[in-house]
């Protein structure tokens, strides 16, 4: 809804989370979920740039980097970087913990997750992500609810 209030047009962003990337240290994309439409070539660029921004940062530094007009919150787990791109003014720590919650869910689902799990089961990771974040918004934050939903799907296999 575009509403004119005293000449100010406020347009809510189309999506809070723009994309989520899982990349390893070499920059190989392990998972990429975009919540805003992007051209294929643009996605490449984004993945390349995010990897470059994130990979060589000192571990002591903040887990936040400015990325174009947005902000990337990233967290490193072993050789994997989980990066979330959000608005420049959003609560960084909250997203940092979002990533962690996601990893906890993965860890629970795969019983001690490792990169190998994610590589071979990337389609399941997508399904988990769909239960966690929908249309760029946090949809469910209860680990148990997500795990239950996933195990119902697993039963079908």
């Amino acid at each position: 809804m575009i509403l004119k209030i005293c000449g100010i047009v406020r347009i809510p962003p189309l999506s809070k989370i723009r994309f989520i990337l899982l990349q390893n240290r070499q920059g190989k994309t392990r998972l990429a979920k975009y919540y805003v439409p992007l051209e294929e070539s643009e996605k490449h660029k984004v993945e390349y740039e995010v990897h470059r921004l994130v990979v060589n940062r000192d571990a002591k530094f903040t887990n936040f980097v400015e990325f174009r007009t947005h902000k990337v919150i990233y967290r490193r787990y072993a050789g994997l970087f989980f990066s979330v791109c959000v608005d420049i003014t959003d609560n960084e720590l909250a997203y940092l913990e979002c990533i962690h919650l996601f990893v906890e869910i993965l860890d629970h689902f795969f019983s001690n997750v490792c990169e190998l799990d994610l590589v071979f089961n990337f389609h399941k990771v997508y399904l988990i992500l769909d239960e966690f974040i929908l249309a760029g918004e946090l949809q469910e934050t209860s680990k148990r609810a997500i795990i239950e939903r996933m195990s119902e799907l697993e039963k079908l296999e």
Binding site: F61, R76, E137
Partner: protein
């Protein structure tokens, strides 16, 4: 390598380790993993694409096989290759009745297609069917797809069903329906404007997940229109209260905080609602105060909530007590060792400083530490803070720092931003004109290509107009200093074009004005510029015009003009220039040189750049000439509009323009055409129907029948060649929901004038601060940043008292604080990290021996080794516990959160098995291995 293959085969057959994929799939993933270069990877993928293309052509592919092909295609796309040849197969798979296949189909489709892809239309029907399914998992799958694939045109096809699903008995469905509706609202607000009351209803859902999800759309709605949701303030407060009192199910706990993500969403909403609203703010005081007490500042998530509280407090009208609590939280952040927390602290400081300006002063050393930190993110945040706390007493230090940083970075995006901030601050707070010009010179020199051209124009105007005082002497001094500085800078190589334009202009106008520099000197310099930047036509143009002015002033003052030889050759060169603009300038200059003093003076009077030139738009001085022409038989002028007879068609255009957004596919049958008698009446007051806002509806309520009348008339209009692909623009009259005048929507929109939060304004408050005497190396910086009252400063202020900021934005006079302040002794602690670090006993250390022994056979270091070297599992639950509390400096563990895990989750046996498997696949532990686990989970 050989070993790897065997393992792969084993995996393929027996699905050990839960991988459960076919051999081909595993081989693909494995070979990609082994690829040593991007080229090799590409080769593998291309051959895989070939294989899949061939396989997909085979008849009667078993469904299970097909599913795997699709997954392989998803993988290929993820690697950045085009799998569009197979999109249609993914679409087909989503039609399948088997849920597993359907999910895979939907998954692939959501990853492959954007909402505007042509194939979407083939999925809409399936989605419609699936939304009606009895199996809620099918419904969920369809709703997931909706959130990605449905666009404005297809919303109406699924909208009624999605609305029905809001009352589904399964909470998972309700939740996803809310998200889908939210998505519709973002895509096309008008299509769901009559449904937003549903969001309010769902706020009271029994299931906390649904309630949590509802907060997303409500946040958006409240951002747009605060006033309509004021009644919910107490509801939100009471929800937050209940959450903090742990009334939600334990499964929402995260690191022992009750539903923290829901708390954060609520706090964001409260910030909106309480902004500029005293009574709403007061309702929130209690719960906010409690939060400060309850939040565990040893965990990240606790701090995330604290930070959100600070944000809320900076938005609402806070109580002194809350401000104090927020300040305490900020100082804890700033004192922390963690860069993340320091960053949050600096950010919080920037927010609070608007309300209580003196808050920064106790943290000055922490701020300076952050400013000097090697971490760019932190540094930039600190610059943002400095920008917010700039006032005339510290502007010099801050802007100098900013410029130093600006020079040091390469990132053009940020360079632009910081350059424009420098300019803004300089324009607003400049203590003196000389300083201002210096700063502008630096900005132009180092970021001239990045600053807005307006900045250059402002600078030129400033130099031309002076600072608005009637002090000609000061003005000419300013100009002289500008000219001097430019003559100096000009010798530097490679100046930005924009800067050269400014330089040329100023030299042209004022280069010789003071008599200090001779015309030939200045014109020589200008020729040098034109010569050195011969590829830049704009600069050359500026230079030639400047030359023209120099010579004009010379001629006008009666001196004899000697055109320098290099100048002469420049003019000659430009006379034959390819650029007509340069050519014209050169001819003008040549013509001017031949004129006498009186004529020249009226063409280019001295220092007249600020004089208004009256433009006679009607060209009235030509009236006599026209009269004459008409009398002698010429045709009178007819305006273009009249000539082309466009009068009626323009109406069509505007109409068409309005209707563009309403283009949409129809999913219902067409209505019968209405009698044509209505047409004329309707077409006169055509209101474009699905206008993005519902204002028009609110102001002139229309009955259902009139809507359809209007539509029928639109059909007729369409027939006259207005471009239209399918059907009418509006489906609204047939969907029962939208044809009734939306009561709720009208209600929400009826207060357009309220809700401009004062938060959007950025009041610039000046504040006084003290100057403690600590840390000799930083003391000076701190003093100049934070101390507004040192004697040297007041001297400067008085000396520059006569100047006014360029833009006319009055800077607030800094408050004087004459009391010399003794340094608080405890400030010394600021430099020292006070956080206690509890060293967590690393459970992996204990396991190290175990792993080493089990992996001694892992031989060569190949790519797989690198690839999977980190991929080894955590071994015990206790380790997970302790490590999960990462960054919190505490190894307390989270027994609550992880209870479920101990029952179901990993056990050491399983983990070791998996570890062994990973190792068998050719992974040998590298030196990082032990720390890997620490990384992986904390």
């Amino acid at each position: 390598m050989e070993q790897l293959k065997t393992i792969g085969r084993e995996l393929a057959m027996g699905s050990q380790g839960g991988f459960g994929q076919s051999k081909e799939f595993l081989d693909l993933v494995k070979s990609i993993g082994e690829a040593r270069s991007k080229a090799e990877e590409d080769r593998i993928v291309l051959s895989e694409i070939d294989i899949l293309k061939r396989k997909l052509l085979e008849p009667d592919i078993p469904k299970r096989k097909m599913k795997e092909y699709i997954i392989r295609l998803v993988y290929i796309e993820m690697l950045g290759h085009d799998a569009s040849f197979a999109y249609i197969h993914a679409v087909k798979m989503s039609h399948d009745d088997n849920l597993l296949l359907k999910r895979t189909g939907y998954l692939a489709v959501t990853l492959f297609l954007n909402e505007d892809h042509d194939l979407i239309i083939l999925i809409v029907n399936t989605i419609q069917k699936d939304l009606r399914s009895d199996n809620y998992l099918v419904v969920c799958a369809a709703l997931n797809a909706i959130c990605r694939l449905i666009n404005e045109e297809t919303i109406p096809a699924v909208l009624p069903q999605v609305v029905d699903l809001l009352n589904h008995h399964k909470e998972a469905v309700r939740k996803k329906a809310i998200m889908a509706l939210h998505r519709f609202h973002r895509k096309s607000p008008s299509s769901v404007s009559h449904l937003i009351s549903n969001f309010r209803k769902r706020l009271c859902d029994n299931d906390p997940g649904v309630m949590g999800a509802t907060l997303c759309p409500l946040f958006d709605l409240i951002t747009e229109d605060v006033a309509s949701y004021k009644d919910l303030v107490s509801s939100f407060v009471s929800i937050l209260k209940q959450v903090t009192e742990r009334r939600l199910p334990k499964s929402y706990d995260y690191h022992q905080m009750p539903a923290p993500f829901i708390q954060i969403k609520l706090l964001k909403i409260m910030a909106l609602l309480g902004s500029g609203d005293k009574s709403a703010s007061e309702i929130m005081y209690m719960v906010l105060g409690d939060l400060f007490k309850k939040c565990d500042s040893s965990t990240n998530i606790g701090n995330a909530i604290l930070y959100e509280c600070i944000r809320s407090i900076s938005c609402i009208i806070p109580s002194p007590k809350l401000l104090e609590a927020a300040a305490d939280a900020i100082s804890k952040f700033l004192k922390s060792d963690s860069h993340n927390l320091k960053y949050m602290g600096i950010d919080g400081l920037g927010r609070l400083i608007k309300i209580s300006p003196d808050i920064a002063e106790q943290h000055q050393l922490a701020v300076i530490d952050c400013l000097e930190d090697p971490d760019d993110t932190l540094k930039r945040k600190t610059f943002e803070l400095l920008y917010k706390m700039t006032k005339s007493s510290n502007v010099e230090v801050i802007v100098d720092r900013m410029i130093d940083y600006m020079i040091s970075i390469n990132d053009n995006h940020y360079k632009t931003e910081i350059a424009s901030r420098c300019v803004e601050l300089a324009e607003q707070f400049a203590p003196s004109n000389q300083w201002f010009i210096q700063i502008m010179n630096k900005v132009f020199e180092h970021a001239g290509d990045l600053v807005n051209i307006k900045v250059a124009h402002n600078l030129m105007r400033l130099i031309a107009e002076g600072f608005g005082e009637d002090d000609d002497d000061a003005d000419s001094k300013l100009r002289l200093s500008a000219v001097e500085s430019y003559l100096q800078i000009m010798s530097e190589p490679k100046l930005p074009s924009l800067f050269l334009q400014v330089i040329s202009w100023v030299l042209g106008e004022y280069g010789t004005a003071d008599g200090k520099y001779s015309a030939s000197y200045i014109s020589g310099k200008l020729c040098d510029v034109a010569d050195a930047y011969s590829s830049d036509e704009t600069v050359k143009g500026y230079a030639v015009s400047a030359l023209m002015k120099i010579y004009a002033f010379e001629i006008a003052s009666g001196r004899k003009v000697d055109v320098l030889p290099e100048c002469q050759s420049l003019i000659e060169e430009l006379l034959a220039s390819h650029s007509t603009d340069l050519q014209q300038r050169a001819y003008e200059l040549q013509a001017l040189l031949a004129l006498d003093a009186r004529a020249v003076e009226s063409i280019l009077p001295l220092d007249a750049s600020c004089e208004d030139i009256e433009v006679d738009k009607d060209l009235s001085f030509l009236n006599g000439y026209i009269q004459q022409a008409i009398e002698s038989g010429a045709q009178p002028y007819i305006s273009e509009r009249e000539r082309s007879g466009m009068l009626e068609t323009t109406d069509y255009h505007s109409q068409d323009h309005h209707e563009v957004p309403s283009h949409a596919l129809r999913f219902e049958a067409y209505e019968r055409p209405k009698p044509s008698s209505l047409r004329t009446q309707a077409s006169t007051e055509l209101v474009p129907l699905p206008e993005p806002s519902y204002y028009s509806e609110a102001h002139q309520p229309i009955s259902t029948s009139s809507v359809s009348e209007r539509e029928s008339s639109e059909i007729k209009l369409r027939l006259d060649g207005v471009k239209q692909k399918w059907g009418r623009p509006s489906y609204q009259s047939s969907t029962s929901a939208s044809s009734t005048p939306p009561q709720a929507a009208n209600g929400t929109s009826s207060h357009p004038d309220v809700g401009v939060g004062s938060s959007s304004l950025k009041p610039r408050s000046s504040y006084e601060s003290k100057k403690p005497e600590i840390y000799p190396e930083k003391q000076r910086l701190a003093a100049s940043l934070f101390g507004g009252s040192s004697s040297s400063r007041s001297d400067r202020k008085s000396s520059s008292g006569g100047h006014k900021p360029a833009k006319g934005t009055a800077s607030k006079p800094p408050k004087e604080n004459p009391i010399p302040v003794q340094p608080p002794p405890d400030l010394l602690d600021f430099g020292e990290p006070t956080a206690t670090s509890v060293t967590a006993t690393d459970p992996f250390k204990e396991l190290e021996g175990l792993m080493d022994s089990s992996s001694q056979d892992g031989g060569s270091t190949d790519v797989m080794g690198v690839l999977y070297s980190d991929a080894a599992p955590v071994t015990t639950t206790t380790s997970v516990d302790s490590l999960l509390s990462e960054l919190s400096d505490s190894s307390k563990g989270n027994p609550g959160t992880y209870q479920s895990q101990t029952s179901k989750g990993p056990n050491s046996q399983e983990a070791l098995e998996k570890d062994a498997l990973v190792r068998q696949m050719g992974v040998n532990p590298t030196s990082q291995n032990p720390t890997l686990f620490k990384d992986l989970l904390g």
